[in-house]
């Protein structure tokens, strides 16, 4: 029975799987429905389609990010310390293009830039009376060639990772124990991690977390997390070194029925950080602490009409995000949705660092004033047997958008620029409109395909936008499930030009590009086993998507996973 259930879960989850990525959190590096620009696994500009505002998704604080990683002033899935399902797995991959035997025929001046791998291995045991053990080692060396030369001087060594000498964006190893039974889950993990953080200055800052200890406790409607990090920052080139001991965590009561009514749900939480800095730490937190108290509420007075939102504050900042949504269903085939959303905030991410220290400059990562953002969104979905049509549109206005006032640049090496200045606001109105049409088709369980086309235009003080987003995007997906055990998936993407305005002396254009992803997975449902091979970012031009970042190259990885 257990095997059958496992098989069923595996089959269902994998039959509907899209293209997998190297490890969770790498999705922006292969997405096109919006603006996704990748510098490294630790820095993405991720702004999905129909998103309101000119910021990226990971910059705006949300209760969903409570247990995600905070990297400087944005949230990141990577390096993920989320507990995996009971299984054992291994993955290995490479940016395509090592020379092997061509090296013998190629002179050093014609030698292409070295391609870099990714490695991952991990396990989580079955439960024994509720107790289990886990361990994971993973690093993604992709997106590290361009920064190698500068980062080698900063780290003072090529051995700045758990394995190899490519100076990867992150290199993580952890192990731990946990207990899961009924409605209780407790875990404690401890490990070591090398990180390269991308500062607002445009520098890559080395951070060695040793140890990092993460504990989580879940019981019914209570989530607790507590993290301790002992961080060492070094810059051997400048002879600088600093340490940070940080305690951070959260106390969270997720949504629960309130006031004897199943129409009204509330949640609440408190997030906190305490740091103790010594020496050259490159970042600073005002008063060495940050906390954030917040409330959530969801009210559904009549069927299909929902009002929801969250509001939070600390001693300096406050943030309110709320939305009203009306959903109209005609039969089971026609679905119409109308929604409005408001955001009022003194800072996008009130838990982020307060300062970055660069040369003699102190970059303030927050500013006075208020951000106001108002969005209207409509969606229409129609189904005809195996065919589905979706039309979505969004319009927004924003005033007080966070941006960066660049006051000057320092050139580190040819076309690598560091910037001086402070986070600031655009105190004029920005307007935006976006629309998207999607067709999808399904043929039994054998084949499904979809096509998506979208466009967006923004009006405002564009020269002060950190990123002018892509205005057009296209996506085609097709998945075959052959004999329920062989999956062939592929997706073809196009993203039009995007532009960075404030991280480079001249506007830094990211040219529009096509790329293709494909994946092949062999399933053995009865045995809980999966083998897969995946090609990512094929057919594209190798481009630099973020100033001072790394190129997005064609990559391949293969994976084996055995579920228990």
């Amino acid at each position: 029975m257990r095997i059958f259930l496992l098989s069923l879960v595996l089959s269902i989850s994998l039959i509907h799987a899209a293209i997998p990525v190297e490890t969770e959190g790498m999705e922006p590096a292969i997405s096109s429905d919006g603006t996704y620009l990748t510098a490294s696994p630790t820095y993405f500009f991720d702004r999905p389609s129909l998103m309101a505002g000119i910021h990226s998704q990971s910059e705006l604080w949300s209760p969903d990010f409570l247990t995600k990683r905070l990297l400087v002033d944005r949230y990141s899935v990577l390096p993920s310390w989320q507990i995996q399902e009971p299984s054992i797995w291994m993955q290995v991959g490479n940016e395509v293009g090592d020379m092997i035997y061509h090296d013998i025929l190629t002179s050093s001046e014609d030698r292409p830039v070295n391609r870099t791998p990714m490695l991952e291995a991990g396990f989580r045991s079955n439960s024994f009376h509720g107790f289990w053990a886990t361990g994971r080692f993973f690093q993604v060396d992709h997106f590290s060639s361009n920064t190698l030369r500068i980062n080698r001087k900063t780290a003072g060594t090529m051995e700045y990772s758990l394995f190899g000498a490519n100076l990867p964006g992150f290199s993580t190893g952890y192990a731990g124990l946990g207990y899961t039974k009924d409605q209780t889950e407790i875990s404690i993990l401890a490990g070591k991690e090398y990180l390269w953080l991308f500062g607002e200055s445009g520098r890559w800052i080395s951070a060695l977390l040793s140890p990092r200890i993460q504990s989580q406790f879940h019981y019914k409607k209570l989530d607790l997390s507590l993290v301790y990090e002992d961080v060492l920052y070094i810059n051997k080139e400048k002879g600088e070194e600093g340490t940070r001991k940080e305690w951070s965590g959260s106390l969270y009561f997720p949504y629960t029925d309130c006031c004897n009514s199943n129409k009204f749900k509330t949640g609440a939480g408190l997030a906190f950080r305490f740091v103790n800095d010594e020496g050259d730490t490159y970042f600073g937190l005002e008063n060495d602490r940050a906390f954030w108290a917040f409330l959530q509420a969801k009210y559904e007075p009549i069927k299909d009409f929902t009002v929801s939102g969250h509001a939070g504050m600390n001693e300096k900042d406050w943030l309110i995000q709320d939305s009203i949504q009306y959903s109209l269903k005609k039969g089971t085939q026609t679905h119409f949705l109308f929604g409005v959303q408001n955001i009022l905030a003194t800072r996008l991410n009130p838990m982020g660092e307060s300062y970055e220290y660069f040369d003699q400059d102190t970059i303030s990562l927050s500013t006075d004033g208020l951000l106001q953002l108002y969005q209207v969104k409509i969606e229409f979905n129609q189904e005809w047997k195996d065919l589905q049509l979706g039309i979505r549109s969004s319009g927004f206005i924003e005033k007080g958008a966070e941006t960066f006032d660049t006051t000057g640049f320092a050139e580190k090496k040819s076309d690598d620029w560091f910037r001086y200045g402070d986070v600031s606001r655009i105190n004029s109105w920005i307007r935006g409109w976006a629309g998207e049409i999607e067709f999808s088709y399904k043929y039994n369980d054998l084949f499904k395909a979809s096509a998506l086309v979208g466009m967006e235009h923004l009006w405002g003080d564009e020269e002060r936008f950190e990123v002018e987003p892509s205005e057009h995007w296209l996506e085609f997906n097709a998945d075959w499930t052959i004999n329920k055990t062989l999956l062939v998936s592929h997706s073809l993407h196009y993203r039009s030009d995007a532009q960075w305005n404030l991280r480079h002396p001249e506007p830094f254009e990211v040219p529009g590009d096509w790329f293709w992803n494909a994946s092949f997975s062999q399933l053995f449902p009865k045995y809980g086993l999966t083998l897969s091979g995946t090609l990512l970012h094929v057919l594209s031009d190798t481009t630099l998507e973020v100033p001072n970042g790394n190129e997005n190259r064609t990559r391949f990885f293969c994976a084996i996973k055995k579920m228990f």
């Binding site: 293009g97 092997i100 035997y101 061509h102 013998i104 054998l446 329920k484 055990t485």
Partner: protein, 193 residues
């Protein structure tokens, strides 16, 4: 050229998907085999100027996946001698791994045709890592993935044993050009269950 491969792949998957039979019986792992194989690998095209043909050896786990389709997992080793003009090191150690599927089309019996992915890992036999000339990258580890197509021809069958020929065309995704090799080997296979 690159595009043609990918579009061919899409077409293959599309055609295969629609023509695939719906399995009524669970064949997965209903048969399992171990095999040893030895043969010769022939560098093809540009890399003929770098290394010489080499003998290879490999082991294989072979299993039934669908009614007429078998899965394969291989690990092997070859030592490729460099061409005589190249003096920095005498040869390159290469380990390889392959995963893929063999399918028996009724009109091609007893030959099976297969496709899959390859991974190779290479390191020079000696050489000076401080010498930045040609070949220096091989003094450290180099690895690359690729794809292969193959044909399998069983020649003899006796109780649990089979002897036959495997022919592979392997296409490794190297730079500045892709690398091709032809592999021909004789295998001895034993059915384990």
């Amino acid at each position: 050229m690159k595009n043609q491969y990918f579009f061919a792949l899409i077409l293959f998957a599309f055609a295969y998907g629609f023509s695939a039979e719906v399995e009524t019986k669970d064949y997965m792992f209903s048969e399992g085999y171990l095999a040893l194989e030895g043969g010769e690998a022939y560098p093809w095209g540009i890399i003929e100027d770098a290394v010489q043909p080499s003998l290879y050896g490999q082991g294989e786990f072979y299993y039934r996946y669908w009614e007429n389709t078998y899965g394969l997992v291989q690990f092997g080793y070859a030592y490729f001698r460099t061409q005589d003009y190249f003096k920095r090191f005498p040869g390159v150690h290469q380990f390889h791994g392959r995963v893929g599927l063999d399918h028996q089309f009724s009109w091609m019996r007893p030959i099976l045709l297969g496709v899959g992915f390859s991974c190779i890992w290479a390191r020079s036999d000696g050489g000076d890592p401080e010498d930045k000339g040609p070949g220096v990258m091989l003094t450290d580890n180099e690895s690359e993935f690729g794809s292969f197509i193959k044909a399998k021809l069983p020649i003899l069958k006796y109780e649990k044993y089979a002897v036959g020929l495997n022919i592979y065309w392997e296409h490794i995704w190297t730079l500045p050009e892709k690398s091709n090799m032809l592999w021909i080997g004789l295998f001895v296979q034993r059915r384990m269950w």
